[in-house]
Amino acid sequence: MKNGKPRSAPRALDKAPTGIRGLDEITGGGLPRNRPTLVCGSPGSGKTLLGMEFLVRGAVRYGEPGVFFAFEETEEELVQNTATLGFDLHRLSAQKKLRTEYIRIERHEIEETGEYDLEGLFIRIGAAIDAIHARRVVLDTVEVLFACLTNHGIVRAELRRLFRWLKEKQVTAVVTGERGIDTLTRFGLEEYVADCVIVLDNRVADQVSTRRLRVVKYRGSAHGANEYPFLITNEGLSVAPITSLGLQHEASTKRISSGVPRLDALLGGQGYYRGSSVLVSGAAGTGKSTLAVAFAVAACQRRERCLYLALEESASQIQRNMRSVGFHLERFVREGLLRFHAARPTCQGLESHLAAIHDAAERFKPAAVVLDPVTNLTTVGTVPEVRSVLARLIDFFKDRQITLLATSLTSGGDAEEQSEVGISSLMDTWILVRNLESNGERNRGLYILKSRGMAHSNQVREFVLSGTGIQLIDVYTGSGTALTGSARIAQMAREQAEEALRRQEVAAQRAQAEERRAAATAQIAALRIQVKAAEEELKRLALAAGIREKASARARLNLSRSRMADKNSAAPLGGALVH
């Protein structure tokens, strides 16, 4: 650092953005400006379409008019052939944003009779460029000159001159060429167009064709060097620039619901991490898709968009099936929160699936994606290939903080934890739904095998689907064994009966005790009365005794008086007595 100011970086190569989905990312900004780029490929690989989209996007999005010089198709044929991309060439032509020129060179019409040059071509190209002030040009394909003219020496010299001239004219050119057997192009165009070379490929493997694009060379710029799958859709080319770019994504700490409250409880109380990848695996019929739909519904209820990639059933079948579990998806589809993308795996190659998923996700911009089931992809690819595709998809989703839930069909039995595709290590959370068979019936049990970054329960829950949705019920662990289904219900009933009985007994005992108490209390009352009576008796006796004593004392007194009073006289009978 000098004088506190950072030293300025060398001026980066000026690039013309192509506007083609994914291509600008691979090329780091677009094609080299004011230089020619060679696009070569076998017939039908999409060179003309790429060139046309380069011009159309340039004209519409970046304000750079362009001219398409076709050597093999007339203007009308071009319009028809590029109609699949949804471009309105006539309108663009009228707006002077785009111009198509058919340069007709027919071998049988030409006789070469001496020295000549291709100044006429230069004049034509120059006139067309000047007419609309074009900044972009496509030449499709100058190889026609080699085919029709015998003097290749002149052709080569003039082509060299042409590309120099185009540079001076400040025009970014795309030159197409047909793939040679040993060389990049049949006539060696790569000698003159050496700044940037893109190769398009359309390989067929196992009856499935896959389109691939590769930037072979890009002078002066870093670029993605791999082969990238691409699609030709009705909105233009779509390249999937996803490659495992390394694990650079940010990890979110936010949590989102799985759609089943008790499952959230098992997951540390809050649910999945946003942007994480969840695997739900299980044998056939264990309810994986239902769990996936619950997740989708939860997202929609949060007013977030969910993309449902269905590889096994059609969208309407899924919606019909889910109605029986109480999930009504039509409403979310109508509101634009839920989008189905259904495709049989065998309809295109694995890489094309990747490109299609990337395309769908880029357009719909969901917050959650369901992939149901991922194991179906093994019908169009080997296990390592599917794993590679999945790794790239996960990277792509994590980069955009999209939560992915993938279902995986296992073959059941003891090998369930093997997980057919060996992808469990790529996933952050792994939920297993398994069949528990006992007593002549099968029930479903759910448990969490792993969940990175959170404390999760290790308890099995019974996974019940009913008309009102999903329920996770505690597995009954009476007498040390885990019971599910009707065994659980039976056990519950049994225990309830026992409980009732016990209660009754207790009630009866209480009643008895009450009675005894009442009896005792009555006894006490009776005894009290006795006590009282005895006391009364005592009182009375005491009183009586007192009276008697008084009476006897009086009598004695009287007697003594009478005896004392009359000692001499024989007491007549009936003497005066004290009363």
């Binding site: 006789e111 009779t113 001496g114 000549y116 071509l121 004049i123």
Partner: protein, 111 residues
């Protein structure tokens, strides 16, 4: 024998079906040596083989670039035989007389 240069105004071909009238157009780009040679060669050829039954138009694409489109001209110089039909195109400075004649479908005249 009319030589027109500069703004080209093709006259209506009243002798359309007449095999004996030749309408020739020479496309050039400026006054390069090649173009001059082509013109010279052409005149000589016409004098020798067509004797007054021809008309040469010289079109300078530098002055009228938009005309290159109509006749689909890419090489300079190019000679186009408009009449008699079918249209024939010959590129080069016409120094190879035999080839020119073959190209124009002319039977060489003796003398």
């Amino acid at each position: 024998m009319v030589v027109v240069s500069g703004r080209a105004r093709p006259k209506r071909a009243t002798q359309a079906c007449n095999r004996d009238f030749w309408e020739l157009r020479l496309y050039v780009a400026g006054q390069t040596p090649n173009c001059l040679r082509a013109f010279a060669n052409l005149k000589q050829l016409c004098e020798t083989h067509l004797e007054g039954k021809y008309r040469i138009q010289v079109i300078d694409l530098v002055r009228n670039p938009q005309l290159a489109r109509g006749d689909q001209i890419f090489a300079i110089p190019t000679l186009v035989r408009k009449l008699p039909v079918p249209v024939r195109k010959i590129i080069g400075n016409l120094s190879n007389t035999e080839k020119v004649l073959v190209g124009l479908d002319l039977v060489p005249r003796e003398g």
